[in-house]
């Protein structure tokens, strides 16, 4: 098993456990797949929230920013 030797002290706080390269790869891929799916859900929820009623059109144009607001929680919640 190849061991990752983390030199930087601040990185040691993240990679507390030592993983093999394969394990690190699996963990990162899992994070990316979850991140992409989370982003799609952020789009879904933003379109759900920023929905105009009647003649209004102001919220629809704000959907991309709404998506970003949703992703901000994915950032803070994840960390």
């Amino acid at each position: 098993m190849t061991m990752i030797v983390v030199q930087q002290p601040w990185l040691k706080t993240i990679f507390v456990a030592r993983y093999s390269c394969e394990e690190i790869g699996t963990l990162v891929i899992s994070g990316l797949i979850n991140g992409l799916l989370m982003l799609i859900f952020c789009c879904v929820f933003a379109t759900l929230i920023f929905k105009d009623v009647g003649e209004n059109t102001v919220l629809k144009t704000f959907i991309p920013v709404g998506v970003l607001a949703q992703t901000f929680f994915a950032l803070t919640g994840g960390l």
């Binding site: 963990l27 797949i33 979850n34 920023f50 970003l68 949703q70 950032l75």
Partner: protein
């Protein structure tokens, strides 16, 4: 829990959509909220709701209130989650088919737009529900393959993105597949828009009428999700701690005017199915950083995601709520509770969530009363001869007690005595009195001991029924004794004056029985002493009676003998 992946959730998003809708409508339906005030009011409402939700989650976690969810009726919980499912499915329909076609199932366009979403949503749900394949493969496959096929079809048919993006009011249109094109968003736009001078306070307050229901649902749903995660991953973690973590991240989320959100079991389980790690926080960090990059970059990814993917994911999210709570719940709850769940969801569909809450609470209360009133509160009824106190008595006394205890009985009660169940006791007492009337006076019950040691409590109506029972027995010459009464029950009985009517309250059934035995022995002693006084008189009477009876024959025989001797 380290291996948790957090992100926005459907419940807060759904309720926020209701808040936003009400803010736009405003308190006066005839005068909608001015357009220039809508966005600022919506952003402020989102920030406030996130702060409130975060504060509440921390409060629940800090005061260890996570267990409160166990006290909520299953029908109420399932009913509310079924309402969420209904609303999510409705949202899936409007997202996929658009505002124009979502209520036109008789048109070809409706089905043309909906079918791919159904394929995606049902596909992900079915594979996950029935454990077909690995979620790490099936979920990305159900999202990526339809998108690839969709773009290939667009290419083959020569349909441009502009044509596919067309809102498509005409039936023959080839569009309706995307939202209108958005400009690149910038995360600091929210701060530019958040000008408090443009807030419509009345609309904000009106929109907040949805918040209490949202808070209840979010807390309950989060606890259920935590329980689900615990069960699926077979790891032990503190719910209260998770609540505090979720609350803290909500408070941080306010910095970006983010929505209230919580950890996501479906993502956590997806991560576990890929990594098989319950301890690594790396996927969660990578997921957060990925979204962080998107946040600061501001790329409008939504411009390239077809609406059926978004609608399909909503169908997948909603189906979980609908199927689990409106179909599979029948295996967990009684028929009455299952009917209540459907009643809550139907009320929500036709009258709104507030009425559904009222209907749910009322039906749950009725079901509780009916269910509890069916429980047997009389655990046992036995004759005193079958039960002796722990006091050691001499053989003579024991023999007397075995004989006299026929006039003594013990009734053992259980559960909570309230207006629904106390009638069982009253009916039983009436039947007992009727059967006693048919017996000779000397064989009727003199004492009835009530064992309260297994009674959980009594309400005001229950105390009233007990007063009636004690009165009835007193009239028919039966004394009532209570044993093993909890202090809280004694307090209720004293408050309502029931204690004045019966012979005594004892710490336990044993002391109550001992008291009855003493009463019997004392009574036997009294009878015996009276008998001792009475016996000489009887003897004298017998002698006199014999003299009177035999005097005439003696005289006659004496006269006859005298004649014979002559």
């Amino acid at each position: 829990m380290k291996a948790c992946i957090a992100g926005p959730d459907i419940n807060p998003a759904l309720f926020m959509s209701l808040v936003v809708r009400d803010i736009q409508i405003g308190p006066n339906a005839l005068v909608p909220t001015p357009e220039d005030k809508v966005l600022t009011t919506v952003l402020l409402s989102m920030a406030m709701v996130t702060v409130i939700t975060g504060g509440l989650l921390i409060f629940v976690g800090y005061f260890l209130l996570a267990r409160v969810v166990q006290y909520l009726p299953a029908s109420l919980l399932s009913g509310f989650l079924g309402c969420i499912g209904y609303k999510v499915m409705k949202a899936a329909l409007t997202t996929t088919c658009g505002d124009y076609y979502y209520d036109k199932p008789d048109t070809l366009m409706f089905w043309k737009l909906l079918m791919p979403a159904l394929l995606v949503g049902l596909g992900i749900y079915t594979t996950k529900q029935f454990h077909i394949g690995s979620p790490s493969f099936t979920i990305p496959a159900f999202l990526l393959i339809p998108v690839c096929i969709f773009y290939m079809v667009l290419y083959i048919q020569g349909v441009s993105m502009e044509m596919a993006r067309d809102p498509c009011i005409a039936e023959s249109c080839q569009g309706g597949w995307f939202f209108p094109e958005f400009e690149k968003g910038s995360f600091y736009s929210v701060y530019e828009e958040l000008d408090l001078r443009r807030v419509d306070a009345a609309a904000l307050m009106y929109g907040f009428t949805n918040v209490p229901a949202m808070l209840v649902i979010v807390i309950i749903d989060y606890l259920l999700k935590l329980a689900g995660t615990k069960k699926a991953l077979r790891v032990d973690f503190s719910f209260d701690h998770e609540m505090k973590v979720a609350g803290t991240s909500c408070l941080f989320s306010v910095l970006g005017v983010g929505p209230p959100a919580i950890s996501q079991p479906k993502f956590t389980l997806l991560d576990y199915s890929i990594t098989h790690s319950k301890t690594s926080s790396i996927p969660g960090v990578v997921c957060a950083l990925f979204n962080g990059i998107i946040y600061f970059w501001g790329i409008p990814l939504i411009n390239w995601i077809p609406k059926f993917i978004l609608g399909g994911l909503l169908i997948y999210a909603g189906l979980g709520f609908v199927v689990d709570n409106l179909y599979f719940s029948r295996q967990r709850v009684s028929k009455e509770e299952f009917a209540a769940i459907w009643a809550i969801v139907i009320t929500n569909a036709f009258a709104g969530l507030i009425y559904a809450v009222v209907v749910g609470v009322v039906l749950s209360a009725i079901i509780f009363v009916l269910t509890y009133s069916k429980l047997e509160i009389i655990k046992s009824f036995r004759r005193g001869a079958d039960f002796e106190s722990k006091v050691l008595r001499n053989p003579m006394e024991s023999k007397k007690l075995r004989h006299l205890s026929k006039r003594f009985a013990i009734i053992q009660m259980q559960h909570f005595i309230f207006f629904g169940s106390a009638s069982q006791l009253l009916d039983f007492t009436k039947n007992l009195v009727q059967s006693q009337q048919k017996m000779p006076q000397v064989q009727r019950l003199a004492y009835l001991a009530c064992d309260w040691s297994q009674v959980d409590g009594i309400d005001y109506s229950g105390v009233g029924v007990f007063r009636e029972i004690v009165d009835l027995l007193k009239v028919h010459g039966t004394n009532v004794i209570f044993g093993g009464v909890a202090p809280s029950i004694v307090k209720s009985l004293l408050k309502e004056g029931v204690t004045e009517k019966f012979t005594g309250i004892h710490d336990s059934l044993d002391t109550a029985v001992e008291w009855v035995e003493e009463q019997f022995l004392e009574w036997a002693h009294l009878v015996r002493s009276r008998w001792m006084e009475f016996k000489p008189v009887i003897h004298m009477h017998e002698v006199t009676k014999n003299i009177a009876k035999h005097d005439v024959p003696k005289e006659s025989l004496a006269h006859l003998g005298h004649q014979l001797w002559k």
